[in-house]
Amino acid sequence: MYYAVIVATLVTMALALLRAVRGPTVYDRVLAVNMFGTKTVLLLAALAFVFGRPDFLDLVLVYALINFIGVFAVLEFFRNRATRAGERQPAQHE
């Protein structure tokens, strides 16, 4: 019963990976990573039940809770760059 979901997740992962490799902008790649994270959560949750070891859901909890930190780091990265560019040439910012 879980196999349908697992196969769907794997195919979606492949599609997201294609988007990550093709780009074209860096944001598309961040988006693909983020999507990949959610897919991994669902894949591992289903696999834990396929293996009959539901106590392994701890791993899935870790991903569900901390996978978004990377995206925040990306936001901070671009904010930092925008502030620096603004300091260098403030006229352009307006």
Partner: protein, 330 residues
């Protein structure tokens, strides 16, 4: 492993192969770091399929929370693009291809995947599983081997982590030097303060991440988990806090002095448990003498050294993050 899970595993590994080739091909380092995030997720899923739940948990905690943040911190201080093209690409490709073919040729002598007659399965594995049941009596054999049977080895690994942390601090300076004592908090340009949605949601989730870290730490004898994973998860929550509220506030919550004390204290706690074994008449890192009941003593020893590992790993990872972030601010 049934055929169908084998097929899943092969599919994931193929995706992983494509990802790594894309990582090496791209000249944009930011893209390479993002693809590393995907590779980490694929690796964790593969670990899970290969029955290594503990290892998958470690890869999840390190790969999702910390590795991306560190690489982005380094990219912010250097540059995003590779300037020079590959040197001697054809020669390198040729050498690499030849070595790959030799390695592939060597795999034909491997016992088939999952074969019970493989050397690793023949003697050690049954012994570890039996002795864990008999001598230590905790469900998670990985934790038992990590903390008790191979306690020396793990002590060495913790010291390597500690040394790497000290090395980073020597190279980059501690975060404390950038925000000298008494300096006013710069409120306007700190972290993601002005982004309301990330800030509120992030602050809401930090307690849960910390709670999960403690759960992984203290439940590590019964389910996947332990000091290494817990340290990484706790470090991830503090990193999230300093992304949201800015470097200086995070250093107010856990000052650099406390972080240094954590780095040293964890290693010392580990060593002290070992010495306590000596004092009580056993061998170094022999926990059986810690309690009148040897099995209880083993459990106490494992609990204590896992706490030591967790404290050191959390201290080292947070210090490394602060060292990188304060370079960026200065």
């Amino acid at each position: 492993m049934s055929t169908i899970t084998l097929l899943f595993s092969i599919f994931l590994l193929t995706l992983l192969m494509i990802t790594t080739m894309a990582i090496v091909r791209t000249r944009n380092l930011f893209v390479a770091v993002m693809l590393m995030g995907i590779a980490s997720l694929l690796i964790a899923a593969s670990f899970f399929l290969l029955d290594a739940a503990d290892v998958a948990l470690t890869e999840a905690a390190v790969g999702a929370g910390i590795s991306t943040v560190l690489f982005l911190g380094a990219l912010a201080l250097t540059s995003e693009r590779e300037r020079s093209p590959s040197s001697l690409p054809l020669l390198s490709l040729g050498i690499v291809a030849i070595v790959a073919l030799i390695v592939i040729y060597a795999t034909f002598d491997q016992p088939p995947l999952g074969s019970p007659s493989a050397p690793v399965q023949a003697h050690l594995t049954p012994w570890y599983i039996e002795s864990t049941r008999e001598l230590i009596d905790i469900p998670n054999v990985v934790t038992a081997v990590l903390a008790s049977f191979r306690g020396y080895d793990t002590l060495g690994e913790v010291i390597v982590v500690f040394t790497a942390g000290v090395g980073v601090l020597f190279l980059l300076g501690t975060g404390a030097s950038a925000s000298a004592a008494g300096a006013p908090l710069s409120e306007d340009n700190a972290g993601l303060r002005h982004y309301l949605i990330p800030r509120i949601l992030g602050r809401l989730l930090i307690p849960f991440i910390l709670l999960l870290g403690f759960y992984v730490q203290f439940h590590g004898e019964y389910s996947p988990g332990g000091g290494f994973q817990a340290g990484a998860i706790v470090a991830a929550s503090i990193i999230l806090y300093s992304l949201l509220e800015g470097e200086q506030r995070a250093l107010l919550v856990i000052p650099q002095g406390v972080l240094l004390a954590m780095m040293v204290g964890g290693v010392l706690l580990y060593g002290a448990v070992g010495v306590a074994g000596l004092v009580l008449g056993g061998n170094f890192l022999d926990y059986s003498v810690l309690d009148s009941d040897p099995v209880k003593g083993q459990q106490w020893g494992i609990l204590l050294i896992e706490i030591g590992i967790g404290i050191t790993v959390a201290g080292v990872l947070i210090s490394i993050f602060h060292a990188f972030a304060s370079r960026g601010a200065a």
